[in-house]
Symmetry: C4
Subunit: 126 residues, 4 copies
């Protein structure tokens, strides 16, 4: 009954911004931005992520693997190859997968004493 192949191969997140400051215990309450990726396939998915900026050329590709029938909640904070994602900087991201996946975008902002949350499905390119 389990379903395979859910989602699309190209997803876009237009709103990216990792606050440099945080309040509360690490790692849960560190301000972070996440791409939650679900791979429902019987094979691993290999993703290439490109990060776009306001005033310089895109960075990437960042290489990410999501195993078969697994989800990976990828923090942009943790990307460092080929280069880290700068803090307090507007960015956007394009995720390209060799298998269909589903991508949801979340930010936890703990710059102030009480954390704020936001989420949306990323934009699936047909």
């Amino acid at each position: 009954m389990i379903r395979r192949g859910l989602g699309k191969k190209v997803w876009v997140i237009a709103e990216g911004y990792i606050p440099a400051e945080s309040t509360g215990p690490a790692p849960q309450m560190i301000s972070h931005e996440t791409a939650c990726i679900l791979n429902t396939n019987a094979e691993d998915a290999e993703l290439a992520i490109f990060v776009y900026f306001a005033d310089r050329a895109p960075a990437g590709p960042y290489r990410v693997r999501v195993p078969a029938e697994r989800t990976r909640h990828l923090r942009f904070n943790d990307l460092d190859d080929p280069e880290p994602v700068p803090r307090d900087t507007d960015y956007a991201a394009v995720l390209i997968s060799d298998q269909p996946v589903v991508v949801q975008h979340t930010r936890l902002d703990s710059r102030q004493a009480e954390n704020a949350l936001m989420t949306t499905m990323a934009y699936p390119q047909d």
Copy 2:
């Protein structure tokens, strides 16, 4: 004038995470994650839910019924058959219905003194 058959039969939530801690009165202010399901059909909808993880095989199916012309705001916190959904653990979910339904995903996070909210439509598979 009432409409039938709205939505799709397969929906995906890629971002799942139930905080283990809460602040405030139960049950409203318990940190929770919800799949809000609307069934506009003249017949009950039977759903099978599969929960995916980062590092183990999927759990499920969880069996859920949404009566005809009713909405059910299902807390993942309350799922316990075949097993509870672990707290403080990344997960994702696929909802498969025998009738078209609409699914919206919400989290209330009350780990800190003031609650945070987020919501998005789930991803509808064509």
Copy 3:
């Protein structure tokens, strides 16, 4: 250059809940749930809204007009004909328009001292 006819005629909000309690000045900080409707047409749009519940038959239709080239940010709190939308109660909503419109769903929750916000595009039925 202005565009007409944007959107769809049927929209679904699966997550509805108006907190009964609020903190802060009225009307801005009253806990509320809103359907933001944009009518880009040259003619007024007439909507019928049906509200669904967990354990009783749907309410409605509620009749709402959105003038040509105008937006209306409709608070579910303000609906009272044929009946008010109950507080602290799970609901869902279907909006049916005679013209294409765009519908976005927002909740401001001020039960605790600091307000929380969430938003999503409603689900557009093809």
Copy 4:
């Protein structure tokens, strides 16, 4: 491997509202509403934005350029030609681009001591 032409040419945000009050340091913590635009094309994108209101004719077009392979996180607070977007006023927005782009909508509300966040993909018109 980088992808071109992602997204659509017409996007709609139905929920617009810039709170007049803020708490915290400028510019990060000023209450604001943002359209995050990603242009994955090899050429600059020229956008015309129309702002709709509850009780008056639409304003615009506002002219905005997003360079090739860049993202622009446009604050509605900063629009002032042909006229500023009023505070504490319901509005909606239509963004029309000469190239495909992706648009995500975010609000940071810092009226109270702790900021609240919300985001959603804008509605892409086919």
